[in-house]
Amino acid sequence: MLRIPCPHCGARDEAEFAYRGDATVTRPGPDGDIAAFHDYLYARTNPRGWQVEWWQHSAGCRAFLKVLRHTVTHEVRAVANAAETLEVPPA
């Protein structure tokens, strides 16, 4: 079971969180065209390894968090607030 260290609430069980997609894609601005929105919504790197993801602490503080997590080991290495940037470590 995942335990995600919420920067506000501390380590909490996976059951309190909701995954909300790849956080490395950025929503295009008002000038975005179909291709840009297509890539934002659909095209995925889907790495077998480290990935930065959106998770909402939905049953806790409701913050949307960026979580650096490994998709094979499930290790959570870093959690940040939405405005912060998390770097994906080299493979």
């Binding site: 079971m1 956080a23 295009p28 949307f64 080991t73």
Partner: protein, 981 residues
């Protein structure tokens, strides 16, 4: 009722008390401290079950969770538990058990005829036959196979017992309370760390329970642990799984040792344990040796026989042969001799060893360099054949009723493996031991190959210290460890004795060494393929005693070392777990919480018929004695709204307070239509799209102040909309200063609708001019209603003049009653969801069935709402050709041509005289009060062009085909005169 095989004294048995039980209807007695297996053995019951495939007679093979054979149906009636291992059932007074997987009696199971067909029933035979004729599989072959297969019978009745979930946190979790686990818990506990010590047994001590000489140390250790306030001891608790990030699952058997749970007590409790550090002290399972006839009742693991003799004071046999490949098993012979059994012979493939010397000094007949090559007996062992290792022939016969076997020990690495740790081959022990940990865990004692009580305890103490230190605690001084010489458990390599007859590697599923070799011949040479092809190690025991033996047979066939072959991957669960325990208490009525509005009691008092809307309970309609049926109630309620006035609880709609300097900008982006232009004190219907251009939700949203908005959502999407808003604020527009608060629970809401609504509302609400000029359609104002603060909206879902009064939820009943009183003279009637649906279908308002996540704004006739200027969620991708395709089905109204013929939601629309292909479908249906008959809404290709024509509502599922006329979706008051009245 004597217990002829019970010792006079010794062991952890309370001989002063007697417990009566029955097995297959025969009455027996045992004592507290017994397992069902030990009590059966004490009474001389040897035949306990039948095997899976060949229905061979089987007895008690082990003394623990690893038991493959002695599976029984425990208890009766709704509490019957099939496949229960007699070796772990604590005996209680009144226990009832029966044998399983037999046709006829246990002694004369006619399914045992399958054994005669064994040459044709080898591994995977069923993949190669039963193919012709094709139709026979379901009719003939499969039912035959299914009846023959399976083990015990489920009761088929609802389980009467209750289960609990529970959560725990600790610094150090110690799994297993044998010598290593006890020492680990004591060492870790002494540091002040929070420790949980869990063991599946009722008595803690593991192998110490077989050593009377070490009882003092066991007691002293337990009392030391009991004195540590932060150490929690959990007996009868099986840790079944090691999950990511230090989370383990365990099941505590709270009331399995009594006939039924006492009041307010669950049968079992499922623990989720979060541990910073884990010490695995799970011990080892003794392994079998594959030799012909190694399954006969009376063939038993040596350690089990020793345990029955020492712990339970039971002789598993009166004349015993020991077949062992290492010194660690010899104590079984001494234990049996102490217990009064005759040791017929000790058979050992080795030539000499320290244990042999001692055994020889004790006067035992040792057959060195020998192996057991066969057994005799039908439903119980009568004799054993012994020959020189690898020799030909049948060997020498020895009469015996117990054959104790030990091929070495398999460390119980299940949890370590589940934690992610690789397994490493230990050439000395001929066993897999845990490799380098991946998680914060360490193994101690026999589960990593450290045998002997003294050595295991020392290993456990070190692990406990290390774990506590790793968790940030300071290690404390050492404590005395048990002084016990360790026997050498390194076996000589002997996995299989080849000969005539079946040599089983998996006793439960009847997998023989020959099956493994057949699998190899057929190319299923990898252990995972061989396992699946033969079902080796897939029984309830998961191959705990024979898994490695099968791997070794495969290794020999492949000409490779066992270490190369490996074991199949370990998956949860370490031992089978009760379904009810995993489910916990959130089942049945409590599977999901029931959400109730503040007016729930009002609806109850009105005798509402209920419906489920997500987790909400909502009134469907309010039946009255005079109503002939449900439709009569619904039509009556709807007619009241169309003709007079009705009142409805609309509290379940999602309500979100949106406030801040950027609130208007935010709403313009999340709604497809414009909100920033909305004046204060006005509401507007809003449409939200998803980013993919599909309609997400709708609702009316009001401007309460310059920066303050009151957003409503549909009932179903309240949660998703909130998350959608929060997500975009956090991820896409972090620059916007907007606060969101869900106020769904704070505000209850009542709709009052109908031509007389104004009079009723005017009588309830104070301080507002309700004239059409002062308070027109889509007006919003704060007010007082029946003396409580409230907010009034002039909005309509029904197509009539209507208002919604929102008030703090605690006052909802008060306001409802005030409205009912005020409406009495106007003939007010409460209406439920069915009438609400009727009214909105007549009006052509879309709702859940149309907003189903597959429709665009254009599909729903709402395309004109999309703003032309400015960005909003869904704008770009809504322009994709597939979504703007004019041939997409569009929303239309439908009316049954024959008013008496019912149409149904889910019918497809097909063209009369056409090819029968679906041109659309019906989304919503009701009977109409405006123009009697059946009407509906639907999605239809070229819908607008077909208005006025007839199509067929095809419902082949129910054998119906009903002509319907395509009409405008807005069947009632299309000019909106009534809502603006």
């Amino acid at each position: 009722m004597s217990q002829p095989h019970r010792r006079q004294a010794g062991g952890h048995i309370d001989r002063a008390r007697r417990l009566a039980f029955t097995f297959d209807g025969r009455r027996f007695e045992g004592h507290p401290g017994d397992t069902l297996a030990s009590a059966l053995l004490a009474n001389g019951v040897r035949l306990v079950g039948r095997s899976f495939k060949y229905h061979r007679p089987r007895g008690i093979f082990s003394a623990g969770v690893e038991e493959p054979n002695a599976l029984v149906e425990l208890r009766e009636g709704a509490r019957r538990e099939p496949n229960t291992r007699a070796t772990v059932v604590e005996l209680f007074d009144g226990l009832v058990a029966g044998s399983q997987n037999r046709r006829g009696s246990l002694a004369f199971d006619w399914m045992a005829a399958a054994g005669l067909l064994a040459p044709w029933l080898g591994a995977g035979f069923y993949y190669k036959t039963f193919m012709w004729p094709a139709a026979w599989w379901e009719r003939v072959y499969e039912p035959m196979i299914r009846r023959a297969a399976g083990l015990g019978h489920a009761s088929g009745m609802p389980d009467p017992d209750r289960y609990e979930a529970a959560h725990a946190h600790c610094d150090v979790l110690v799994v297993g309370a044998g010598p290593a686990g006890l020492a680990a818990a004591r060492a870790a506990g002494a540091t002040g760390a929070r420790v949980i010590l869990a063991d599946q047994d009722v008595l803690l001590g593991g192998d110490l329970l077989n050593e009377p000489g070490l009882e003092a140390w066991r007691h002293e250790t337990l009392s030391a642990i009991a004195g540590m306030p932060e150490v929690t001891v959990m007996p009868r608790t099986t840790v079944f799984g090691f999950y990511d990030q230090g989370v383990l699952g365990a099941v505590e058997r709270v009331a399995d040792h009594v006939p039924e749970p006492p009041p307010h007590t669950p049968r079992q409790r499922a623990w989720t344990i979060r541990a910073r550090e884990v010490v695995l002290a799970t011990g080892a399972h003794e392994r079998l040796i594959a030799f012909p006839g190694n399954d006969r009742p009376g063939v038993m693991l040596a350690g089990a026989a020793r345990g029955y003799a020492r712990r339970h004071g039971v002789r598993a046999g009166e004349s015993a042969v020991l077949f062992a490949t290492h010194d660690g098993a010899y104590d079984a012979a001494f234990a049996m001799a102490e217990a009064g059994a005759r040791i017929v012979a000790i058979v050992d493939p080795r030539q000499d060893s320290a244990a042999m010397q001692r055994a020889r000094e004790a006067g035992f007949d040792i057959r060195t360099g020998s192996e057991v090559c066969g057994t005799v007996g039908l439903t119980a062992l009568r004799g054993v054949s012994v020959r020189g290792v690898g020799a030909a022939g049948r060997g020498d016969a020895f009469a015996a009723d117990l054959l104790m076997v030990s091929g070495g020990w398999n460390p119980a690495v299940h949890l370590a493996s589940m934690s992610g740790a690789p397994l490493a081959w230990d050439e000395a022990l001929l066993a897999f031991v845990p490799g380098a940990p991946v998680q914060r865990e360490r193994s101690a004692g026999a589960c990593r190959g450290v045998h002997g009580i003294g050595a295991a305890a020392a290993d456990g103490a070190a692990a406990g210290h290390a774990a506590a230190e790793a968790a940030g605690f300071v290690a404390m001084p050492a404590f005395p460890l048990p002084d016990a010489p360790a026997a050498d458990c390194r076996p000589c390599e002997l996995w299989e004795v080849k000969g005539r007859g079946k040599a089983f590697v998996d006793l439960q599923d009847d997998v023989t060494a020959a099956d493994i070799r057949l699998a190899h011949r057929e190319g299923f040479s990898h252990i995972e393929h061989a396992k699946r092809y033969t079902t080796h190690a897939m029984g309830t025991d998961q191959g705990k005693t024979g898994g490695i033996v099968g791997a070794a047979v495969l290794a020999e066939a492949r000409g490779e070392p066992v270490s190369r072959v490996g074991l199949p991957r370990f998956r949860p669960y370490a031992a089978p777990i009760a379904w009810g325990a995993m489910a916990g208490e959130g089942v049945g009525k409590h599977f999901q919480p029931t959400r109730r509005t503040a007016l729930h009691g009002v609806h109850e008092a009105l005798g509402a018929a209920w419906l489920d809307a997500g987790i909400w309970k909502r009134p469907a309609y309010y039946p009255r004695p005079a109503d002939a049926d449900a439709w009569a109630s619904v039509l009556r309620e709807a007619r009241a709204v169309r003709e007079r006035v009705g009142i409805c609880d609309v509290s379940t709609l999602g309500k979100i307070m949106v406030e801040g300097p950027d609130a208007a900008t935010f709403l313009d982006r999340v709604y497809a239509n414009t909100f920033s232009t909305l004046p204060i004190g006005r509401a507007r219907y809003g449409l939200m799209l998803r980013d993919d251009g599909i309609v997400f939700d709708d609702g009316t949203t009001s401007r309460i102040g310059p920066e303050s908005w009151f957003v409503t959502t549909t009932t179903a999407q309240a949660g998703p909309v909130m998350q959608h808003l929060e997500f975009h604020l956090a991820s896409a527009w972090p620059d916007l200063d907007v606060s969101l608060a869900s106020v769904t629970d704070q505000w209850a809401a009542i709709a009052i609708a109908g031509p007389r609504a104004r009079e009723v509302v005017a009588a309830v609400v104070q301080g507002l001019d309700l004239s059409n000029e002062a308070f027109p359609f889509m007006a919003v104002a704060d007010c007082t209603a029946a003396g409580v603060p409230a907010r009034l909206f002039r909005i309509s879902f029904s197509g009539e003049l209507a208002y919604e009064i929102a008030m703090p939820a605690g006052y909802a009943t008060h306001v409802w009653q005030a409205a009912m009183e005020a409406g009495a003279t106007h003939g007010i009637e409460p209406y439920g969801m069915e009438a609400l649906g009727l009214l909105r279908i007549e009006k052509g308002h879309v709702a859940g069935p149309e907003l189903n996540g597959q429709t665009t704004a254009q599909d729903l006739g709402l395309g004109r709402m999309l703003k032309k200027k400015g960005d909003f969620i869904g704008r770009v991708l809504a322009q994709r050709p597939g979504l703007t395709d004019p041939s997409r089905p569009r929303l239309v109204g439908l009316r049954s041509v024959d008013p008496a013929r019912q149409i149904r939601v889910g019918s497809h629309l097909v063209l009369p005289g056409g090819d029968g292909r679906s041109q659309g479908w019906i989304t919503s249906v009701t009977r109409s009060v405006v123009e009697p008959g059946w009407i509906g809404l639907g999605m239809l290709r070229e819908g607008e062009a077909r208005i006025g024509s007839e199509v067929l509502a095809a419902n082949p599922l129910m054998g119906e085909e009903v002509p319907v006329r395509v009409v405008s979706a807005h069947m009632h008051d299309p000019e909106n005169i009534r809502v603006r009245a």
